[in-house]
């Protein structure tokens, strides 16, 4: 950000009088606003698409009243959420109750910061990107636990407890399933990881096809991430048919809206990470995005990235409307008895592969056979 600010000062003459930190600050706010706008738009449109997809899968029509074919439904929903009374139960722990939605929302929104949207389109290319996402997404646990506890409602409490147990259990397999991609790229920066997948026509360079273990790792990550973000079939903290609505049962108005937005935000962050780590990120097939002119390279790579990420989001929605919910003991068993050993074994496999074959993937080996 600072480098960008300095170059901006050099390019625009009258900015010379302004201190560098001020320009950088303005830039940061601007970038944050853009990312927030993207996140909110995605969350709005995502909710509409979710309902349309649900309608399609469930042999019904879905929203079709607001705007042409219901496309403005999400605006109506948003306005409704903002205008509705924000109730706080009399016996709730008021400060905690009011705070909890922000934790959840920030936890999910902060993940957007390191999402590599394109060649140069990333809010902050942290050199600890993957680690950072893992860290901020843990913030959600605190929010869910606070919401469940402070509501002074037994269903909410059960939901909060489930949420805490679940997210903490599944962070381990998520972390272990991410490491293969990090090892191949040799960096925690998401941009570096995406760049490392650029070779060989842009498709066979994907970590997904690097070796059998990474292929497996993709599915492990996807499953565990579904659970970590409370998506069906692992939506136990908000299990509607069991816990009424789970940890957010006492929330109304825009505070409920934050939980709702966070859910979609999580969905996108998981999809974006899956894309960046295993599916080649913004790499354009058959091209090197970095060699194109800045504007075209970025636009194309943004398109490719969003295309992949939205496909993953659609798959998540499809899963959501297809599978029943698993039980809490089965959830724990799945994590501790199956996913964690499997991801660990997988990690071992990838390490051995990288050691034995000197970091080369199967496509690269095949390519070298043909010169």
């Amino acid at each position: 950000m600072e480098a960008l600010a300095i170059s901006l000062i050099k390019a625009v003459p009258f900015l010379g009088a302004v201190p560098v930190w001020a320009v950088a600050l303005v830039l940061m706010v601007a970038v944050a606003a853009v990312v927030l706008a993207f996140a909110l738009t995605f969350e709005g449109v995502g909710s509409l698409v979710l309902r349309k997809v649900a309608g399609d899968i469930q042999v019904r029509i879905g929203p079709n009243r607001v705007g042409p074919n219901g496309v403005l439904q999400f605006l109506a929903d948003g306005v409704k959420l903002i205008l509705k009374e924000d109730l706080t139960p009399a016996s709730a722990d008021r400060p905690l109750f009011k705070m909890a939605p922000y934790f959840v929302f920030v936890g999910s929104f902060a993940g957007f910061v390191v999402v590599p949207f394109g060649v140069g389109l990333i809010a902050a290319d942290l050199n600890i990107g993957v680690y950072y996402v893992m860290a901020v997404s843990s913030l959600v646990v605190i929010g869910i636990l606070l919401a469940g506890w402070s509501s002074n409602n037994k269903w909410a409490l059960l939901g909060g407890m489930r949420g805490a147990a679940q997210i903490i259990s599944y962070e381990i397999p998520v972390g272990l399933a991410l490491i293969p991609a990090v090892m191949i790229a040799g960096s925690l920066s998401l941009q570096d990881i995406v760049r490392s997948q650029g070779g060989l026509w842009g498709i066979f360079g994907w970590n997904l096809f690097h070796n059998p273990f990474t292929f497996f790792s993709f599915f492990l990550y996807f499953t565990a991430a579904q659970a970590e973000t409370n998506q069906t079939p692992f939506d136990l903290p908000e299990a509607e048919s069991e816990l009424v609505s789970g940890y957010n049962v006492e929330y109304s108005g825009i505070r409920f809206g934050y939980f709702f937005l966070a859910e979609f935000g999580d969905m996108f962050v998981v999809a974006a990470l899956t894309t960046a780590l295993f599916l080649g990120g913004w790499n354009i097939p058959f091209f090197h995005a970095e060699t194109l002119p800045w504007i075209w390279g970025n636009l194309l790579s943004l398109g490719v990235f969003l295309g992949k990420a939205f496909t993953i989001v659609l798959i998540m929605m499809w899963v959501r409307w297809t599978l029943p919910r698993i039980r809490v003991d089965q959830l724990m068993r799945l994590s501790w008895k199956y996913l964690i050993p499997l991801t660990f074994f997988n990690l071992l496999g990838v390490s051995l592969w990288l050691l034995v074959f000197n970091g080369k993937g199967i496509p690269a080996m095949i390519a070298s056979l043909f010169g």
């Binding site: 469930q58 059960l158 509607e240 048919s241 069991e242």
Partner: protein
């Protein structure tokens, strides 16, 4: 070394599940005593939907009570209608014309299908899969269309009459029924592909709330809940009434195919298979239905002779029995209603001990209870 601090005191938590809860199928209240997620005790508290049906029956004459039976089991109104008619006819020793009996069997079986569809749908929705519910609704709409064609109503039919039915099948009704059967039968396989053998679904249901055959009999379970425990008892076969003896069909029983015999999955599967048997009965009934009148000669002021009678019919939710006492007047002296769901609640506390909260939902769904039947 410091002394180990006293263990934190723990106590069980009492949670009210219902009367407003998405998965209690109405206003059932279950008082859960839980240790974390484990339910140590679940006591059903019934009575939130008390309609006073039995008292109402004493204040109305026999045919005036017919619409109230629709409300007894609003998902199987036709079955309750017909059961009431059969009970009163048994009391007054009236024979309905054969065509009327066929029509009653047709509507009863159609209603059994639509009721089981709701049961299937709401059960899967309880398990977290909302999609199959709407598939069930899709087919149920077609049954409702058929009923609308027949009697103008889609939920509370008031179709049966003492001594017959309110009206003959309109032209095209039987053809439409046949069309529906051809359309519906493959859909059962679709449900099985969609959800029945889904691994998560089976895991949720197999070996949960196992009821042995002896227990089921001892607690007076009837209908699919009893047959799910492997007891082949079906009033249509074992105590035949109406024209049921003329039809060839099987009694579906649980087989323990995915877990122990008598678990939630068996009860679920019995309902799915029963829909197939209902289709079988319907095909025969639609083919064999004779021409003729649909109402017997019943006096305008209908006063059955003094006496008492118990009649029971196989409803989608088990035995629906009416114990009628007549003092020779136009109103029943006493009408006791025996409903499957109410009796099923007896065993609820026993089978839910030690289960998880999510299992309670599964048990309620697998019993396929309906609240007006419980509270009457």
């Amino acid at each position: 070394m410091t002394a180990r601090p006293e263990a934190l005191p723990t106590q069980e938590m009492t949670i009210n599940m219902g009367p407003q809860h998405p998965s209690t199928h109405g206003v059932l209240r279950v008082i859960l005593t839980t240790d974390g997620e484990v339910v140590t005790r679940a006591v059903p508290d019934v009575g939130y939907l008390h309609l006073g049906l039995e008292k109402i029956a004493e204040r109305l004459n026999y045919s005036q009570f017919m619409p109230f039976t629709d409300r007894l089991d609003y998902l199987a109104g036709m079955n309750c209608n017909c059961a009431w008619a059969w009970a009163v006819e048994k009391l007054a020793k009236i024979e309905a014309p054969e065509r009327a009996e066929y029509l009653r069997v047709i509507v009863s079986e159609l209603n059994r299908i639509s009721s089981h569809l709701i049961s299937f749908g709401s059960f899967t929705a309880d398990m977290g899969a909302f999609t199959p519910f709407l598939y069930g609704i899709r087919e149920r709409e077609k049954v409702n269309d058929l009923f609308e064609m027949l009697c103008g109503q889609r939920l509370t039919y008031n179709y049966a009459r003492i001594g017959g039915v309110s009206g003959d099948a309109p032209p095209g009704f039987l053809e439409k029924t046949r069309e529906f059967l051809d359309y519906f039968e493959p859909k059962i396989d679709e449900y099985n592909n969609l959800i029945s053998y889904n691994k998560i679904f089976v895991q949720r249901l197999a070996n949960v709330a196992v009821i042995s055959a002896e227990e089921a009999v001892a607690y007076g379970l009837t209908g699919p809940n009893l047959r799910g425990s492997g007891v082949a008892f079906d009033l249509r076969k074992d105590e035949p009434y109406s024209v049921y003896p003329k039809f060839d069909f099987n009694v579906c029983v649980g087989s323990g195919e995915r877990g122990q015999l008598g678990d939630c999955f068996d009860r679920y599967m019995v309902r799915i298979n029963e829909m197939r048997e209902s289709v079988k009965i319907l095909r025969q009934a639609v083919d064999q239905i004779p021409e003729g009148p649909v109402m017997a000669k019943v006096p305008r002021v209908f006063k059955p002779p003094v006496g008492e009678v118990y009649f029971r019919a196989e409803n989608p939710r088990g035995e629906n029995g009416y114990y009628l006492v007549s003092d020779g007047s136009a109103n029943p002296y006493r009408a006791k209603i025996r409903a499957g769901s109410f009796v099923t609640m007896n065993i609820f506390e026993k089978v839910t001990r030690g289960l998880l909260i999510a299992d309670i939902v599964a048990v309620i769904g697998s019993f396929d209870i309906i609240l007006p039947e419980i509270d009457r």
